[in-house]
């Protein structure tokens, strides 16, 4: 029951934000996201004390087709729900210094987005999952379309069609699997897991699912919508897309693909691993060349999620644990980075790194917080990024040592583009323009300090996260080993 509350409360809050006076939309949405955070904390304690069952719920929806409102949270999904509900208040707070036109629509859409995301992470019915998956696309599309940059119409159209095309393939695959479930057919997760699929079928369905997820994540070569969209979206849009939404794809692989299509994965896993390795190196190398700070973050994100996907497909417990930890870490770090880009852009009216520089002199606090976020992103030990990256690379290493060496290039290249960017933006001689860089406002301080604290706390004490995810991931790995 509580899970349903977690899903539908943001929907109610979103409707409320749309109805209530627009001047206070910021505050309403912020408060409701805090309430949602409180609910999540409550769900978390229930989960820790009473286990998985207490958060499960199952209601009939379309009984004729075997579709039900089946939701629940296990060790993997509860962490992603927590990530969503921690990031949404931070994302809303991060917009306090921006003045968006039509705020009630803007904040309403963010909350609508939260509704869909929680739905995706907690749905245990294939059809329900698909509905939420598609639903999540709509608010973010509007956010990018209405508050984006100059080329938003062209870019958002591409983004929309590209991801929609992937999703339709997934629907096709889902229906096919549904038809192979034991009679009477059902979309419930247990039924889908039992679908009798030959190796050949799995090989085809694999690509139906994988394309949908790979576009969302994105994995090379299905990534070309991403840099434009991330760069052109308003800061909060980029944060939603990269911080939370792309995790839908990785989560989808773990929740739906690994258990349903073990033979398909055995057949094509190799191929995905190679695509991921290409993603990492290719995106890192391109990131070095970028002049727009936001675009650099976009490419760095491709490299990072490429490694997360590789860890998942290593099918080892370390790789999967790493992917869960890194999903959280990447979410936090990338929101931090996009916020930093926004802070700079708002003050300096540009994101072109060549025309920045010398900002460190004016705001020591900002430069320290920037460094911490950057260290998380380059995976320095004792930051959250290290735990994830270490486990991921170890997972890939157990799959193939040479592949791990190639994926490991992110260790070097990540340092190259990140430190280069930091130097160009923050260091160097103070010039006339950098004097305009004023210190952080209160809301900015709060957001960045929370993010920096999360980076270090999760890096020093990642154990609770690992223990929560462990049982669910072990089950998946065991299941895979049983099949192969």
């Amino acid at each position: 029951m509580l899970t349903l509350v977690l899903i539908f409360f943001p929907l109610l809050a979103a409707l409320g934000t749309l109805i209530l006076p627009r001047d206070n939309a910021k505050m309403y949405s912020f408060i409701s996201s805090l309430i949602q955070l409180g609910l999540t904390a409550y769900a978390f304690t229930l989960f820790l004390t009473q286990g998985v069952d207490v958060l499960a719920a199952n209601y009939e929806w379309v009984p004729g087709l075997g579709i039900s409102l089946q939701v629940g949270l296990d060790g993997i999904s509860i962490l992603l729900v927590a990530l969503t509900n921690i990031l949404i208040p931070l994302i809303i707070l991060s917009s306090f210094r921006n003045n968006y036109s039509n705020p009630s629509a803007f904040y309403g859409l963010i909350l609508l987005m939260q509704f869909a995301l929680i739905g995706v992470f907690s749905a245990l019915d294939g059809f329900l999952f698909y509905v939420f998956w598609e639903l999540a696309l709509i608010p973010i599309w509007f956010i990018c379309l209405m508050w984006g940059g100059e080329e938003r119409i062209r870019i958002t159209l591409k983004f929309f069609i590209y991801t929609l095309a992937g999703s339709l393939l997934m629907l096709l695959g889902l229906i096919f699997v549904y038809l192979q479930t034991p009679a009477p057919h059902s979309f419930s997760i247990e039924a889908l897991y039992q679908a009798s699929l030959t190796a050949e079928m799995q090989g085809y369905i694999f690509w139906c699912f994988f394309l949908a997820f790979a576009i969302k994540i994105p994995v090379f070569p299905f990534h070309t919508w991403q840099p434009d969209t991330y760069t052109d979206a308003p800061a909060q849009g980029s944060m939603l897309l990269s911080g939370i939404m792309l995790k839908m794809g990785i989560y989808g692989i773990i929740r739906w693909m690994l258990p349903i299509l073990p033979l398909g994965i055995a057949e094509w896993g190799n191929c995905v691993m190679i695509l991921c390795a290409i993603s990492i190196v290719y995106a890192s190398v391109i990131a070095i060349y970028q002049k727009d700070f936001k675009r650099l973050i976009a490419y760095s994100s491709i490299a990072h999620v490429g490694l997360i996907t590789a860890g998942v497909f290593s099918l080892s417990i370390q790789g999967l644990q790493g992917s869960v930890v890194q999903m959280l870490a990447h979410g936090i770090n990338v929101v931090g980075l996009f916020f930093i880009a926004d802070i700079i852009q708002r003050r300096m009216k540009t994101r072109q790194m060549d025309s920045l520089g010398g900002l460190a002199n004016n705001s020591p606090l900002f430069s320290i917080l920037f460094i911490i976020v950057l260290l998380g992103s380059v995976a320095l030990p004792l930051t959250n990024g290290f735990v994830g990256e270490f486990l991921l690379l170890l997972g890939v290493y157990s799959y193939n040592a040479w592949l791990a060496a190639i994926c490991g290039l992110t260790v070097i290249l990540g340092a190259v583009y990140m430190f280069r960017a930091y130097q160009k933006v923050m260091l160097g001689e103070v010039h006339e323009r950098s004097v305009e860089f004023t210190g952080l406002a209160k809301s900015e301080k709060i957001v960045l300090i929370i993010i920096a604290a999360l980076i270090i706390v999760c890096g020093v004490f990642p154990k609770p996260i690992l223990s929560i995810a462990q049982p669910a991931l072990e089950e998946i790995v065991l299941n895979l080993q049983g099949v192969n």
């Binding site: 591409k158 590209y162 070309t224 391109i286 690379l393 040592a401």
Partner: protein, 631 residues
Amino acid sequence: MHQFIWLIPILPLVGFILIGILNKRLPIQWSGGIASAAVFLSFLISLGVFKEVQMDNFVPERIVLFNWISAGNLTIDFAFLIDQLSAIMLLVVTGVGFLIHIYSIGYMHHETDHPRFFSYLNLFIFFMLLLVMGSNYIVMFAGWEGVGLCSYLLIGFWFKNTEYNNAAKKAFIMNRIGDLGFLLGVFLIFMTFGSVSFKEVFEGAKQFSSNDPTITAICILLFIGAIGKSAQLPLYTWLPDAMAGPTPVSALIHAATMVTAGIYMVVRSNVLFALSPYASEIIAIVGLATAFFAATIGLKQNDIKKVLAYSTVSQLGYMFVALGVGAYDTALFHVITHAFFKALLFLGAGSVIHAMSGEQDIRRMGALKGKLPITHLTFLIGTLAIAGIPPLAGFFSKDEILAVTHGYSLPMFALLSITSVLTAVYMFRLYWLVFYGNFRGTEHQKTHLHESPYSMTIPLMVLAVLSTIGGFIGMPEIFHAPHLLKEFLQPIIWKSIAHHPSHTFEYTMIAVSIVLLIIIIYATYHTYVKRGQLPEEDKDLPAGIPMLLTNKYYVDEIYNTLITRPLDYMSGFFSTYIEKGFIDKIVNGTGPALQGLSGVLRFAQTGNIGGYVFSMVVGIIAILLLTLIVY
């Protein structure tokens, strides 16, 4: 002592946080005081630990703070290991670290940003202590990367200078190249032994036979990490550039402690390396090549700190030679004595630079002996120690390295001996040019010449004493004194595969080296003081070898052409041609392609009944024909 051990790294961390948070709210000199006090307290506890370790009934202790990471069968505790090796490294790090903190109070006197400097220094000590105290490869790696970060922050301390920032970035990236090797080595360790904890790994390794390919692979990967951190060929180029940082930083990080982390790591893993003579040989060769190569560059450098930097690279090479021939205790011996005399030389150089109002070019110095008596005397002791005059510290440790190399391979011994001659030459060249001859600076500099304050000279004096007597912890057999260090380190060294030389050889070597040194000292004195010859100005350099040496064999330029620029080019190529020109063209092409297809379909839907009937008839005929063919 047991219950205080965790405080050793935590105290500097607390210092870092305290100074970092209070920052400018602290009275101006306090940050230096807090930072020094934190390190001093750690030093006191380390002394206690050291005493405990020396007891007869001591067994290595593992102190688990908490379980850090665990996934599947991988468990990593945040744990410290106290044994002979870590105990002695603790003393070096906190002891030398404390002296350099005190020195910095004087040296950074004119700086406005005290809190930032001292908080970074304390953070560095914290990470360095993690590195030497960690009881598994991951905690060690945390320290390993952490010291790299602090090195980055401190090299780029004066962040308005782009050149300094470039040096800082280069150091971090070069280190990261090594770190990837280290990480892969750790993965292979985990795959092989099912653990990353020193105890389990070494127990497991003892079951392997010599030159097992897995062990060799592990050793080579770990050594790649050491190459980065300890500035060996081919990743050494960051260290000379790192001299951009304030001089106390060069002394602490880039001479005494951080750069010796690679040697510490190999000594710690001596069980693995002893099992791989093949990897060991590689180490010896790389070390020897680096020692010689860097020493030749040192001959022609004119920046006082650059000479010392190349000297450090060269001395680190010595230590790797010792490791390669299997004399792990000897390598550590040189780590300790080098920490003393190189810290002394750097701090002395700092004192000179301080007196010369920031001048670093030795062609603009000279005759500083009278004005800087304490600096001069202590610098002389450092120079004699590194050159290897008995009975100073450097003599014993370097002599021991030469001796064990002699037992390993004669050609290597010969080249290493030539290197030690070169060492004496560039060091005395530096010494005479700085302290003797005529003063060649500006009038302004001349009027400002002054001896440094006590906060700077006292650390110099302490280090001078240590550089003088430090060698007595490892006397060769012929002096009939016990080799204290060797005995102390006995329990942590599994198999020393080094050969020890005969007494006659020892006597001959001492005699020859003394004679040679006297000749070198006289010859350099003759050249630089009596004849007053000065190094050429850069524009007057004769072509050929001097040009090559002054330009450091153009290695930076080569790397720039072979790696940096191709990477930039590749980045642009991917971005323009593959990304926008190829992949995106295909993606965007699907739109028009679909439109084209729909155009074709639209053409079919004419609304003309006749047309539909016609195509229906054609269709039926086609189906009939098909069934005829199939059946």
